[in-house]
């Protein structure tokens, strides 16, 4: 009986955790944004790493740009603008943990875009930024 409960509990816990930390690759996440962009943007062809870089390094009406915290070389470690706490590199080419959890990616796009643009980012902006970050060569 005890053994059974243990087994059931273990399998439930394993299943539950697999469900919440469902991992994807950056490519899969980018592909999802691409599918979404096709329905949102007229004549959409593909994301642009060049546009992503410009977007990332420029300010958009507030003091901070994305580069303020993630540096203008996102292969490097960044630093939070108000707390100075270190931030691991944002490019998935320098940090394998980046862009592997869709919920985490969405959460941070939402927060950081609100801080930098005072609104949420569009699918096009998110895809361009990802294309830029994925094109960087260590």
């Amino acid at each position: 009986m005890v053994k059974n409960i243990l087994l059931i509990t273990l399998s439930v816990v394993t299943l539950a955790s697999m469900n919440t930390v469902y991992a994807e690759t950056p490519q899969q996440i980018l592909d999802n944004y691409r599918t979404q962009a096709k329905t949102e943007v007229a004549n959409f062809k593909d994301f642009s790493a060049t546009n992503g870089e410009t977007f990332f390094k420029n300010t958009h009406g507030s003091d901070w740009s994305c580069a303020t915290c993630h540096t203008s070389n996102p292969l490097k470690q960044g630093k939070h603008a108000s707390t100075s706490k270190a931030i691991d590199p944002l490019s998935p080419n320098a940090n394998a943990k980046r862009f592997t959890e869709p919920a985490k990616v969405e959460k941070w796009f939402k927060r950081n875009c609100k801080d930098v643009l005072k609104r949420e980012c569009t699918t096009l902006e998110k895809g361009d930024v990802m294309a830029y970050l994925m094109a960087l060569k260590p």
């Binding site: 243990l6 059931i8 509990t9 706490k85 939402k110």
Partner: protein
């Protein structure tokens, strides 16, 4: 079906924790700490720590993974015992406008973190309000914090290695473990 599973998981956890004596130890600690802080209000608070041992472990012995992950992304996760419940409630109620940054959380995550903070919060007797009568949100603006740190000069607070009083880790080398004991304080120069 779901209920049964939950029940089993909880059952197992409870058994494991009880057998480890965690509940017991934790409850004791919490009491000590609350008492200690109320005593602190009036005096300099030195000396008694030796006898009380680990009483300065501010409610992070029973840590919560979600809290640790979510609340340590931009700064160290400030232990629940540093603010009373009403302050945590007010702070968590306005995360999209969190000290000049958006720290919003979805409802599911909120439900995991808020109870952890309020249940392990500082004593209600330590509740302080701002000029506008609202609960104090900053640990660093509370009277007890100012009193504990009244020997630190303005220059030290602003120095390059400290930058802000909120940066506990600059001086409290074991702050991330919830330990603010004076033995582990080192002011950077």
């Amino acid at each position: 079906m779901r209920k049964l599973h939950k029940f089993l998981v909880l059952g197992l956890l409870a058994t494991a924790l009880t057998s480890l004596g965690v509940f017991q130890a934790y409850a004791d600690d919490d009491e000590d700490e609350k008492q200690e802080y109320s005593e602190h209000k009036g005096d300099k608070g030195r000396g008694e720590h030796g006898e009380k041992g680990e009483a300065k472990n501010l409610g992070v012995k029973l840590t919560n993974e979600t809290w640790k992950t979510e609340c340590s992304a931009c700064h160290m996760a400030y232990p629940p015992g540093l603010l009373p419940a009403a302050s945590w409630q007010a702070l968590m109620g306005d995360l999209p406008n969190h000290f000049g940054t958006d720290a919003s959380l979805d409802d599911q995550v909120m439900k995991e973190i808020l109870p952890f903070l309020t249940e392990n919060a500082a004593s209600e007797r330590r509740q302080e309000t701002n000029k506008d009568g609202k609960p104090m949100l900053r640990i660093t603006e509370t009277q007890w914090f100012k009193k504990e740190h009244d020997e630190i000069s303005a220059a030290t607070w602003k120095s390059d290695k400290v930058k802000s009083a909120s940066n506990c880790l600059a001086c409290h080398t074991t702050a991330e473990q919830g330990n603010f004991d004076e033995d582990n304080v080192k002011i950077p120069r």
